[in-house]
Symmetry: C2
Subunit: 328 residues, 2 copies
């Protein structure tokens, strides 16, 4: 009845007032937080500058020091050397101005992930996303190769590729501004791949297109298969490193991880290098095709160059990564 | 000398400790804020549910009430009616789960802008971005129309269009999840436009392409010209509404704004409608072309349908918007 409704309303109204108060408190704390953010950012910038100004004076002064003084200085210099890493980790929790690409695509929205868990969750999601699309691409390449030979389906396949690579560049930029150490080349490699797929999209159906089609589809199939292997290796790495409680700065106690990583890597590397040489082969084939008298399409040379760029970047970056891991 | 360096180092070390403490305090407050966020979100969800459960009981109960009781109920119902708006505004400052599109493109990164100023700044940036690209597109369309007639330049133009529309859909999704009231159609319209430009990209150069090329470029030129007008109208609206201190819930004291808006709108509308009918005309031309015996390209029908969809959506949405503004 009426009395009951009124009671319900009053309890609701009470709760509502509470909610309002919580919201007010929340917005107040939010402001405090953004003030603290600003002062942290300013302090770190100032510290960086002062440290940078100090180094040359130390070097100059060292020549006229007693050995005891020099010892003290060494200690100080060791501390100074560690600071950049500490600042890098502090900054992972502070908002940053977006880089040019994110500013163009997203505008100046803040995409900092403010806790370790959300960073991990975001990285996991990125890996799962890649896995998911990789499986779709595998099926797609298989379909185009063996089931339907239709230019419209090829177009859809290439559209998906363009979209996928564009998305990856966005997500990777977000990861980087949240403290991931992805090498710049892997991101750039996705820009090049997006351009390559975009050019494939505009390649009109004809004799030359049909000449290259099967090779391209087989290559795509292989590439996505390698991505599956890469996924298992990389998510294994992530999982084990988190279990160890740290991602960067590995030390000797993680010998178990190291040996797992090396086994994974030695399994993976032959497949990767085979893929790189396939890219080289694609590039060379396309350049040979461009010499044919019937070749009038600019797409041939354009795709060929992209493949060569991909080959060189992938091959040498992978070599560098492996070399650095080996030295550690 | 050494003593000086040591003093400098001590002062630096002091500042460093302070920075560390600020950062610690910051991360602690951050956690408090995220707890408050969660409890606000939970409280609003609960309130919504309880309000929803209450409405039918009120309706049922009303039939057996005295007139005094009924009056009280009316008052309560008036309060209940306002709540959704209040919750909507509260939620604009709380993180939300991203919608499907943003989840696909960005993943689950939080893109809530947490203050009125940053919301305004983001909207301004969005408008400036549109203005900037519109000017580039105008120049591009002009170049293609009168200066260089090269398929590669057309391809670049269409690539820019695809990228631009894709970017707009991302930014608009961000705006919407930050409390903007953009109609769903305007976002969808950018998806359709992106698809249209993507299909134009794959249209091989040939007789039919050349038949449609000039018409398409002229249309692009006109459309971007209208966008310029639209920019001046919409940024004028935004600017004036902010000066009034509120965006939604306009009331009678803003008669000055209303009259400005109507003058702007009556100036703009003829240009808009002319653009819509040009879209209809494009669609019809393409369908006529698809009847020609030499037409083998699927792109013709696809582009034609996109233009018809654009015409219908734009035309009817604009009519609805104007009608609603008029009723207010
Ligand atoms: C060589 C390779 C296996 C090394 O992987 P790794 O052991 O994870 O390398 P690192 O330790 O240098 O990783 C540093 C960071 O970059 C990320 N990363 C490394 N390679 C990446 C790639 N190709 N794409 C995206 N992210 C990558 C890692 O996840 C890690 O991220 P984090 O800092 O957020 O934890 C890997 O780079 C790779 O697979 N490259 C080959 C890609 C290729 O050639 N593809 C074409 C095949 S046909
Ligand atoms: C009709 C029109 C002028 C009305 O604009 P308006 O007065 O700003 O409309 P509303 O009051 O409904 O705006 C509500 C919100 O949607 C936004 N909005 C309206 N139309 C938009 C559009 N076409 N694109 C993006 N955002 C739009 C407004 O900026 C406002 O945002 P806010 O809530 O963040 O402040 C506008 O919708 C328009 O120009 N549409 C025609 C577009 C078109 O047909 N283009 C093709 C031409 S060839």
């Amino acid at each position: 009845g009426f009395a009951e409704l009124l009671r319900e309303w009053e309890s609701l109204e009470n709760e509502y007032q509470n909610t309002q108060e919580t919201h007010q408190l929340y917005r107040q704390k939010l402001e405090e937080v953004s003030k603290l953010q600003e002062s942290c950012v300013a302090a770190i910038t100032r510290q960086r500058k002062r440290l940078k100004d100090m180094s040359p004076s130390i070097r100059k002064c060292k020549q006229t020091m007693t050995s005891e003084e020099a010892n003290t200085m060494e200690e100080i210099q060791a501390l100074i050397k560690e600071r950049p890493n500490i600042f890098f980790e502090m900054e992972a929790f502070l908002p940053k101005k977006n880089g040019l690409y994110l500013r163009l695509v997203l505008g100046n929205v803040d995409i900092t992930l403010l806790s370790k868990q959300s960073k991990f969750a975001y990285k996991d999601e990125y890996e799962t996303f890649k896995l998911f699309i990789t499986v779709i691409l595998l099926l797609f390449a298989f379909t185009c190769q063996f089931l339907v030979s239709n230019r419209i389906v090829d177009v859809l396949f290439n559209f998906l590729l363009v979209w996928y690579y564009a998305t990856l560049t966005i997500r990777e930029s977000i990861l980087i501004s949240n403290g991931s150490r992805i090498k710049g080349w892997w991101v750039f490699h996705h820009y090049v791949s997006a351009v390559l797929s975009g050019v494939m999209l505009t390649w009109p159906n004809g004799k030359l297109y049909q000449m290259f089609r099967n090779q391209f589809l087989a290559y795509s199939f292989y590439q996505n298969f390698v991505h599956l292997l890469q996924y298992y290796y990389q998510s294994g790495c992530l999982y084990r490193l988190r279990a160890l409680g740290e991602r960067h700065n590995m030390d000797l106690t993680v010998a178990g991880f190291q040996s797992w990583m090396w086994r994974g890597l030695t399994f993976l590397l032959p497949f990767l290098f085979f893929g790189h040489f396939w890219q080289l082969y694609n590039g060379l084939c396309l350049f040979r095709m461009s010499q044919l008298p019937e070749c009038t399409e600019w797409q041939v040379v354009m795709c060929g160059s992209s493949f060569l760029v991909l080959f060189m970047g992938n091959f040498f970056t992978t070599l560098t990564v492996v070399y650095h891991k080996f030295k550690k």
